[in-house]
């Protein structure tokens, strides 16, 4: 049905004085979905806000209004700020690497290669693995005594090596990042491969005829063409990385000490191991506000909201 046909149908259905009635009918139709959305979206948020002003702990169900108690504690909690910093570090390092590697792989596979489909299928495998399973697998890989990584290094070194991948402060971040990048680069690769497939070949050919080099074509034609998809991919992965939990939990549980503790791990420990319920609600609310601001700014920046 075209727009003009739809317009005709609507006009035919319209009755004098029936505008208000129609409006009510439309509201009635959308009301259930609005109600469900409010129930599952807004109610938990409001409840979270309410709980964050109480003092519910493991042993006390103190539901009296405590003012800004939890928010004051939150501001003073250096461990929480450190966890936030670790999360930002993971995001800031992993995201560009995943993007660049994914893009490079997509560029490689955009051309017809022998066995292309098989390679793509194999490359995508890490994405379908549950993150906690990926973390456990990498934990075995990095196992000092029984893990293959140390054994392979040992073969080259000609002696048994004792590299503490998930303990040594200078190795623990690279170890986590390696696992994270291994798992999620294929996600970038898939999205960017799809985006690259949609780039108009005739434009690239015309540019080549006009004497544009590879990089010039890439920056002037390819990048603008794939940017909407790339921006969405960056946003999705950025948000994912901000919620980073499973791989870090499986590899280090946030250690040594709290050196690799992310904000999600911090919230889990406080909320579900120590049952600092109200305090965790305040932390969660802070994360929501922070992420909302970041996402809005990002959307504005990449102009996707339009």
């Amino acid at each position: 049905m075209t727009a003009s046909q739809a317009d005709l149908v609507l006009r035919a259905g319209a009755r004098p004085g029936g505008g208000r009635h129609d409006r009510r009918f439309k509201y009635a139709l959308v009301a259930p979905s609005i109600f469900v959305l409010l129930l599952i979206g807004v109610f938990p948020l409001v409840y979270l806000l309410v709980v964050s002003f109480q003092n519910i702990t493991m042993t006390d169900m103190d539901k009296t209004f405590q003012g800004l108690l939890n928010y004051r504690l939150l501001v003073q909690d250096t461990r929480m700020w450190e966890a936030l910093l670790h999360t930002v570090i993971f995001t800031a390092v992993a995201l560009p690497i995943e993007l660049l590697l994914g893009l490079a792989m997509a560029q490689l596979f955009i051309d017809r290669l022998p066995g292309r489909q098989v390679f793509i299928a194999l490359l995508v495998l890490p994405v379908v693995v549950s993150p906690i399973v990926a973390g456990a697998t990498w934990s075995l890989m990095f196992n000092t005594r029984f893990g293959p990584i140390n054994q392979i290094i040992g073969w080259f070194a000609g002696e048994e090596v004792n590299i503490l991948w998930t303990i040594n402060p200078s190795l623990v971040y690279p170890a986590i990042l390696a696992a994270e990048i291994w798992q999620w680069t294929p996600f970038m690769f898939l999205l960017l491969l799809a985006a690259l497939s949609g780039v108009d070949k005739s434009q690239l050919e015309a540019a080549a005829i006009d004497g544009a080099g590879y990089w010039r074509s890439f920056f002037k034609l390819v990048l603008p063409a794939i940017w909407p998809v790339m921006a969405v991919a960056i946003l999705i992965r950025g948000l994912d990385l901000f919620r980073l939990f499973d791989i870090v939990w499986a590899l280090t549980k946030g250690g040594p000490g709290t050196m690799t503790e992310t904000i999600s791990i911090f919230a889990y420990v406080k909320g579900f191991q120590q049952f600092e319920t109200s305090y965790t609600a305040a932390v969660a609310l802070m994360i929501i506000v922070l992420l909302t601001v970041v996402v809005l700014l990002a959307l504005k920046r990449v102009q996707l909201a339009r």
């Binding site: 493991m58 042993t59 000092t144 005594r145 004792n162 503490l164 402060p169 250690g255 040594p256 191991q273």
Partner: protein
Amino acid sequence: MGGRQYNEEEKMSIQHRRPLGVCRQALLPALAVIALAWVGVANAQSAAQRAVDAAKKICSGKTITIVWEAGLQSLDPLNFSGPKWEQLTGCKVKVVEVPTAEMFTKIMQEYRAGTGAYDALNVIPAWMPDLVQAGALEMLDPYVDKYGYRSELQSIAPTYRDNQMTVNGKIYAFPDDGDVFVMYYRKDLFARDDLKKAFKARHGYDLAVPKTWKEFDDIGAFLTEALKKEGIYGASSFREPGYGNFMFQERFRNEGGKFFDANMKATINSPAGVKVFSDWVKENKFMPPGVEKFGFVENLATFLQGHAAMTISWPPYGRFAAGYLANEKALDWVPKSRIAGKVGYALPPGGHPELAAGFALSVASTSKQKEQAYLFIQWLNSEEISSQRVKLPYALRDPFRDSHFTDPAYMKLWPDAKEYLAALQAGSKTGLLDLSLIQTDKYEEALRQGISRLWAGEDPKRILDDIARQWDETTRRVGVEKQKAVYNAWAAKSGAYPK
């Protein structure tokens, strides 16, 4: 059993007395005798049978849900006790498997949600103050009395009975797992003449099972030096922070450490604590590479494959090392023991092993079938059924009743089983309880993080000062006086500190 005894003359006299009042006089003692006899018969019936008989009436056709540690532990209710209970009573048992690290969280979450999803629970005794204070556990005293279980509870080994059963004098759980750290050592290596001679020449005393940590260090370093070419290290140990937490608690107290002073200020950073951390770092040098990450399985694999001369762990190591039912399908994952018949059992250095973790059976306060759940745990925990359960090769439940340690059937399970049981019993007598306070996990978390920082190369004193600061902060937040009362109650227990 009391009750008046009558001679023949009295009986005849009673029979010839008239009228009705006299008859009543005769009737009352007779009834009393009958009642007492009936109680006697009832008591003669085992606690397990009483639970079965009662459950047949109130639980048949129903299903109770029990939370159990995931993995081998849960094969007990899945393969043995659950089906048997159903067969005896008609009452089904649904097992919810939860990894140990998440059990507390799951139990608390369910309690907060109040859905009644769990009926019976496995809880680690150190959690009990937290769970009781929160209201998650049902008090069991009324059920114990109703179903006549109090006398059988007395035959649980005193350490477990006196320390892991009650909170504020009330019963909230039945100790059901004699978890205690035991030192396992290679008898064959300790008996080798060349090693004995060389050790004596170097250290001036005989090579024997270490009784102090100094001896442990001497022997461990010596054996590594002497046997490394054969692929054997002097010792291996739990070092992964979750397990290291138990090892620290044990050793710290064996070295004379106290967790808090009289004002409830943390003293974990005392010289004893620093010594433990410093010694650990030194000991890693004679232990297998990567020992810093050794948990239950890594340490087990190392020991069973014959790569370590000594180790300290929970009781199942002894059974696995002996090759007890090594062909059991559920134990496929356990490396085949290469040291069967070569393993000796002793108390760890210091003589006061950690009663690390352990499990106790409890009833969820939110259960809608409390009585049914209670009957199941009474039956599980009873003398009759528990003696069968601790012999299951796969279930990881360890002897916890006096009778388990002297069970002739158990002693025949493998050639050294008698010595094994003796070591377990000795450990139960001198064992040390896990620290148990309000919000225990916060204290343990600080310790676990401290251990991971130790392996990352930080200074022991600095780490322990930081742990002490975190402990003090937690105490302050809980309330110093409130926590002090809980700590003092814990410290007054027989297994809190070495006597």
